[in-house]
Amino acid sequence: MDTIQFLMDGFASALTLQNVLMAAIGALIGTFVGVLPGLGPTSAIAILLPLTAVLEPTQGIIMLAGIYYGAMYGGSTTAILLNIPGELSSVPTCLDGYPLAKQGKGGPALGISAIASFTAGLMGVVGLVFFAPILADQALKFGPPEYFALMILALTLMVSLSGGSLIKSFLMGAFGYTLALVGLGPSSGMPRFDYGVSSLVGGFDMISIIIGLFAVTEVLKGIEEKRLSTVIGKPGSVYPGKADLKKSAAPMLRGGLVGFFLGLLPGCSAAITSFLAYDLEKKIAKRPERFGKGAIEGVASPEAANNATSSAGFIPLFSLGIPSSPPLAILLAGFMIYGLTPGPVLFEQHASFVWTVIASMFIGNAMLLVLNLPMVWIWVKLTQVPYGIMAPIILMLCTIGAYSVRNSMFDVLIAFIFGGLGYLFYKGKWPVVPLILCFILGPLLEESFIQTMAMGSGDLSIVLGRPISLTILLAAAALLIVSILLNKRTQIRVREERRGEEDVA
């Protein structure tokens, strides 16, 4: 009951005019930066972090959290309307969001995505309030063998996300993996795949690769199609209809749960959970072949997972001081700069601060919904800007987005090269999603593999000897079989229905 009391106190102080204003400003700035194609949450927080350093601790953290949520949401907007994800975690949203926008259902898709984010955010915060200490303890049980098993499970997604040819998607996956290898090796610290080029020693930056594969490629596709407006199709209604809401309620809940529980694990980023949630929906759907062609569930679920993961990440952060994703790590740094060390002591020593921040997360989430639902029409209007004007703007923003991550022209070059490659992949029907997926999973898989081998003195069977990792591995095997069967079924149906005209990617 103490918790309730603390939370109420937290609400009382979070609802002061100044704090509400901070949450609103944060959410707004975050959304605006996130909406710019080519700029996502990580770049948004990184660019805007200095702006909040002048504020008081409570206000600073509230605003930072607002920027984080806002940029997440803004990133989904470009993912849906322009097929340009601002962050890796928005890639699954593109898969169905963009087809929906093309069909003139961009408005409802944005609405659903806002509602899904809100619902999942609330779920995460509720979990944070009531279960933080218990859950944090469970997360510690996850060691390298468990992560290794989890990465194997995530790799099975490749089969179901492959769309067309399995061989092609494996090759693309391996390619994504190879790209992630470039740089210094994790176990020896020696450079690899650098071939004496010093820029390569730093490795490829994920943001520049997705900017290339999605944003630049999309513009090139637009030229080919001689697009007139940014999105083909009527703007349609803005608010999601009852049917859409009904259809996406369960996916939102499932996505939220997947995102929440996996989000407790340090290192399990929103990019991974949103892919898993998307795949889950596809697997349990009655007609999985609709996915990738504009299924509203395919927007609701990953968006919910995405946001639940972001909220769940606060649990290990607050109770153990472990940041589980890059934006949270920046937020942790924010805490530390203010002299607040996250951990159990934070709850004791700065109780009012912690509960104010938690309460403001409720408020921030609500704010986002209130701000964004009415603003959806602005973003939809944006897509009616003539393509000839929009495309050069997108390309110029891409340059800035790719450059600003590491202030490196090399990254811009990579973005443009991958833009060209992405176009060729599109023409040759080579799916890019496995590439992105493996690029995310690559470093984690390799690291957990090396750690597991060290733990087991070079014996991998340790993975089979531990109950959690064994369970995950068995689940992975089951998923793999289901995926292959479903994949066959889907392919047959797709062939029957439309003679294999379009590809998932």
Partner: protein, 150 residues
């Protein structure tokens, strides 16, 4: 004759097989740093090398076998293809120009070209749009947010 749809697979498979060779060579080199023959920075590169080689060869064979099954897609008009190639070249030129002429000049010149290429606008219109774009981007990102283009 190999049809266009297959040609992509064929070339792709060939390139990936080659990549497999490259990755395998690198994996072999990396092995010298590792303390164990199985664990180290070379483990996953060698697995990937194998995947590329096996899958690449399989696809190579398939691209011949499936020749008849794939339908040739209508190719895009030569003018549009030219515009796509030009657009990409202009972007690469941008990187070079940014280092040479500075942000404002480079961005303006390149956006004029892009507005013409993608929007099919007249020169004067393109120049006007490009000027607006350049100034606003400069003010937001370079002046206000202090991103240093050098």
């Amino acid at each position: 004759m190999i049809r266009p749809g297959n040609l992509f697979d064929f070339i792709g498979a060939l390139l990936f097989t080659l990549l497999g060779v490259v990755v395998s060579i690198e994996a072999y080199r990396l092995q010298s740093y590792a303390s164990s023959p199985y664990v180290g920075d070379h483990t996953l590169p060698s697995i990937l090398g194998g995947v590329f080689l096996v899958m690449g060869v399989v696809l190579l064979l398939q691209s011949f076998r499936l020749q008849a099954a794939t339908s040739a897609k209508s190719s895009i008009p030569a003018e549009l293809r030219m515009r796509i190639i030009l657009c990409l070249s202009v972007l690469f030129l941008y990187i070079w120009l940014l280092g040479m002429a500075g942000y404002i000049v480079a961005t303006w010149l390149i956006s004029v070209a892009l507005f013409r290429l993608i929007g099919w606008y007249r020169w004067t219109t393109s120049m006007l749009y490009a000027a607006i774009l350049t100034v606003s981007q400069y003010l937001i990102f370079v002046y206000w947010l202090q991103i240093a283009f050098s």
